[in-house]
Symmetry: C2
């Protein structure tokens, strides 16, 4: 990791994943990787991800941890539906020390969905319109439960449903706002190396990281360390200036490729 030079410029994001289905291994957390990729490309540094059970204490613990770290952005997924184990909204109210109450705008959103389908607004459906005091409901174009947005100090909290299509639909409506909060450009480069084991590449990466402290370099083993080594090398840099980010990554990539070729590694640009 190479946090020294860029840490102060970066904007930390936390992702909180809620749902027993993740913790019993029934569902693979693709929401997390999708969000992480989106946020990284916007200039956020996704610092931590926490997965917790459908339990008010557990969920509010996760929000409080993220808030106490002064994260710039907290995004949660899951626990927004109508069933007894959908507890995210209530847990967030609890974590913030705020009342949990029916929001008129959210209730309008929920009512409209059910009424246009010719269905009653029952107690379990009204629950989806209960928000922490001061929160704003986010229109859900792909489902019934609204998302939730609330600011706490400098931290923006966005609560999304766990159903991927709904999560993405609400998130996509917030891209402009989220992007404007970082003002950073990210440049990336990637290539693969075959013919030399990761442990032989390691000292070369050390050199490059020392030489280009603002570039982050990561190697991902894809083959066998012994026998048929194949490595994917990923470089990235962030800057307020897009050209500068691109130039830093390019320089570090060229330098690393030269060193790798010197020891007989075969390089292939992805």
């Amino acid at each position: 990791m190479n946090s020294n030079s860029e840490a102060s410029e970066e904007r930390d994001a936390w992702i909180i994943s809620i749902g027993n289905e993740l913790l019993i291994g029934k569902v693979v957390n693709t929401n997390f990787s999708w969000l992480a990729e989106q946020l990284t490309s916007m200039g956020y540094r996704v610092k931590r991800e926490i997965t917790v059970m459908d339990d008010i204490q557990e969920i509010s613990w996760a929000f409080r941890e993220a808030l106490s770290s002064k994260a710039s952005l907290i995004i949660s997924t899951g626990g927004l539906g109508p069933t007894y184990d959908d507890k995210t909204s209530e847990a967030l109210a609890f974590a913030l020390g705020k009342r949990w109450q029916v929001d008129e705008k959210a209730l309008e959103m929920v009512k409209k969905k059910y009424e246009s389908a010719g269905m009653e607004v029952t107690e379990h459906r009204i629950k989806m319109a209960k928000l922490p005091e001061g929160a704003v409901p986010l229109e859900n174009p792909a489902g019934t439960a609204p998302g939730i947005m609330i600011k706490e100090g400098e931290t923006l909290i966005i609560v999304l449903p766990g159903v991927p299509k709904e999560m993405k639909a609400i998130f996509n409506g917030m891209v402009e706002e989220l992007r404007s909060r970082t003002g950073l450009a990210v440049a990336e480069a990637e290539f693969s190396v075959s013919g030399v084991p990761e442990s032989s590449i390691a000292p070369l990466i050390d050199k490059i990281v020392a030489q280009y402290p603002s570039v982050y370099v990561k190697s991902h083993p894809r083959g066998k360390e012994l026998g048929a080594p194949l490595l994917l090398i990923h470089l990235s840099a962030r800057s307020r200036d897009e050209k500068e980010a691109l130039s830093m990554v390019k320089q570090a990539e060229d330098a690393l490729i030269s060193l790798i070729k010197e020891i007989g590694g075969k390089v292939k640009k992805e």
Copy 2:
């Protein structure tokens, strides 16, 4: 969630996932879901999963959090290789307040691998043999970096590589030991419901959960709440007695299916 009656019997496990590649969204964390499924079937309750960056402070924070919660089992994946950003072993030593030193048995394992491939044992390769004082290296049948096992009070800590094949190979060697620690049998049942929205099923699940407090019921929306609702319903129970676990799940499943059919839901056993 339904933790009341089973919480005291259960054995809590934490999973710690280490690697920037997860936090930038390059890699989907299938290690977590694989481990979670394995541990759940052995009777563990996977309580939390935390993903952290390749950073000593971050990794040791995660281990300390898990230790302070008195987890029965902590399993980490990632950060065991030879590169500069493989820091799990050192961070664990730091978290435990123990020395980080070359372990003779681990060094033998690493040496054997490289020497049989006709390669030198360099400084970066020796790093893979450094363990926290008092830890035991775990043979890696699919790669070079040994896993690590250490007990801290009542907590068993197992450190695995991030490469899925290596992670699974080391884990599979520990199944007997891990299973014997819980002594619990888990019974599960699953069926799908179409034709009624999740918000109409919610009050029925509430009833069943109140009636069968030791059975955990979870609904997963798969279709559209309005229009073409499709729900997957998953029930599970744990007991020291396998027959009892099976019988509890069966009773709750039958009762829930009856209620769902009464309101016109179509049930299909998976």
